[in-house]
Amino acid sequence: MPIEILMPSTGGDMTEGNIARWAVKPGDAIRKDAVLLEIETDKALVDVPAPGDGVLATILAPDGAQRVKAGAVIGLIAVAGEDPGALRAADSATPASKGLAPPPAVAAVAAVAAPAANRIAASPLARRVAAMGRIDLAAIRGSGPNGRIVKVDVEQAAKHAPAPAAVTAAATAATSGTVIGERAAGSSVPHTAMRRSIAQRLTQSKQSIPHFYLTIDCDVGALLVLRAALEAQAGFKPSLNDFLVKAVALALKEVPAINASWSDDAVQRHAGVDVSVAVATPGGLVTPIVRDADAKSLRTIGAEIRALAERARAGPLKAHEIQGGSFTISNLGMYGIREFSAIVNPPQSCILAVGASEQRAVVRDGALAVATLTTCTLSADHRLVDGVLGAEFMGALRRLVEAPLSLLA
């Protein structure tokens, strides 16, 4: 039996990804655990190691293949005594590519007649039931003989599948260039794995997490004075965001109940303070992590964030660089946004939305004064963060920001 190379699942909610690049080609000798290919998951590039020794017989999901299901067979390794050429031939006759998504048009409706769908092993009844329910056979693992998809598999999938109407409509428009009304429709841009993941995660977060919001103004006057002094005396100019990462990390140490995640059975308290920093890239938002930020110097924090952001803009980051943060900071201050509220990035409990620091008129001791303020809004998961707890955290954060020497300690 040849060894099947399976699309891995790199994390809890990863169900599909794209093939970025194969590092080997058919005919190459393969050593177990050597890197075979890179896949692009939600936000990361992940190396896929070889599951065993042999010769790469065939690649079923080539470079650039989109939306490959986790668990799908993406290649075959011929083991000793097997003829890789024969496997290739056999495979082109009956492809095992049951997990590979067909082109959008085929995924839509006419599964019974569609040639690409016919390459999936499925019973006539399963095909018909799938077509009626607009279920994508490519997404289904068969339980019949030799993994053939039978009716019960489609029924199971239908139970878990979201309504696919929007996808179908988009796919139809994309392929047929439908004219809507008088004007030609705008162009449609196929989703990247990352866009799809962002859409899915944020929708899930906003729909399933009871958000609430706490807004506070932080006086960053002292912090800006300190920063000027650091630049003048040490030639080191941290960004306001670097200070905030440090301040958030220390505030999380002070209010550890915030540094936690909701799970169905229990609240998971995190041992380390890992702060995710939202970074805009051409493909969308990514959130590289500054691990143990509470223990790192401002200089280290700043250097890490800049290196990660630069690499994130150049291409996908590695999975470990973006997975597992316990709190996210999203800063739109540089765009002049005064304040905003962000969507919690599950399984984290909170996200801090940071606005622009600007001079505002304030009343102090009964008199008008000018202060440099930054408005911060905490979005919190009310399942594990109550209002008072969130307020305590925001109080601690403001105190740290307004006493910035504590951030140098």
Binding site: P124, L125, R128, M132, S143, G144, P145, G147
Partner: protein, 465 residues
Amino acid sequence: MTKNHDLIVIGGGPGGYVAALRASQLGMKVALVEREHLGGVCLNWGCIPTKALLRSAEVLDLVRDAAAYGVRVEGVSHDLEAIVARSRAVAARLQSGVRGLLRRSAVTVVEGRGRLSAPRTVEVTGRDGARSELAAPRVILATGARPRVLPGLEPDGVRVWSYRDAMTPRALPASILVVGAGAIGVEFASFYRSLGSEVTLVEAADRVLPNEDHEICALARKAFERRGMRVHTGTVVDSLRLDDEGVTATLRGPAGASEVRIERVISAVGIEANTEGLGLEGTGVELDRGHVVVGPWLETGEPGVYAIGDLTAPPWLAHKASHEAVICVEKIAGVAHVAPLDANRIPACTYAHPQVASIGLTEHKARLRGIAVRIGSFPFAASGKAIAMRQDEGMVKTVFDARTGELLGAHLIGSDVTELIQGFAVAMSAEATEAELAHTVFPHPTLSEAMHESVLQALGRPLHH
């Protein structure tokens, strides 16, 4: 002394011996414990010997009808002793065949009664009372079932017959009462009617062959009555009075009580699982209405203990037992892509005259489930082959899900339909829809064309009807 195996199978019927054969093929060291005869009831005292008897009856019917084919046969009579001898010879030949298969597969056959004496241990008590122990990490229970005995209908071997007595008559009774019009009851009724006995068939349910589609039941009843049987449905036997001459049975039915006078009584009122003496007490093996509760892979509540066949849930059919045996053993061996058995896709055959065969949901059951159905039916009276063969009694009925085109069930009555049903079983197993069935070429001239026509009729486009 304890002998170690990979698998012990208790019971050598169509479930047990198939489990042993398959396990051996998959490289397991197997012991098979059988208390009486390899092949079980099916081969020795059930399916097979009754088919031999019914074949004799069929030949007799055919020869009697020879003139209708333009064949002159005179002095037709039967030899009951020879009929029974042939039936026994058939069973004996097959039993030795099973023994040979097991020997060639290196299955250790241990004669005696097996019981779970400790975890992973089976104690075998031989016919001489000697005890031995076998050990294996897995045990499959396949001890089958026996006829249910109703109070007042206990077989005495003379007037009230067990199935074994009914299979080995020394003389033909002039009259016989068959209690229970399930498959076994109507087969005995058909056999004795063909040989010339006056047959009264009594059934508690409101129709004969109560598991079958209502339309088929009605046709079967009509056919039985045309052949001279007296059929009483909705009727139970209140009491039997035995005397030297015969039996007086009091029947209670919709029209009140009545008495019939017969020579012999055959009771065929269902089965009971053979769970006693298996050492199940104190284990995790659970029973439900006397049958062992199993999961999709035939596993019981006791780790390492499995149960298959009549011991478990219905249908209680030999081929169901054999299929469960293979699933159970393959799952144990870790064979890829083992699928659990879908009880709705097990065909059932009754070898009465006429034969009845079915698979899947009846029209009634499908409608009860709220499924919108499409019904197709085709009478053999419109089949060229059936008319040529003078076998134009009966019909083929198909039940489809109107929404998906799924073949939900097929119900046949007529000559050789027990050989036809497999076509529908393949279709259901492969999940063919009415479209594939309509597209399938059926050879002409065959009885199977009626299957095609039934499908076409469900689609609303029959060709010959």
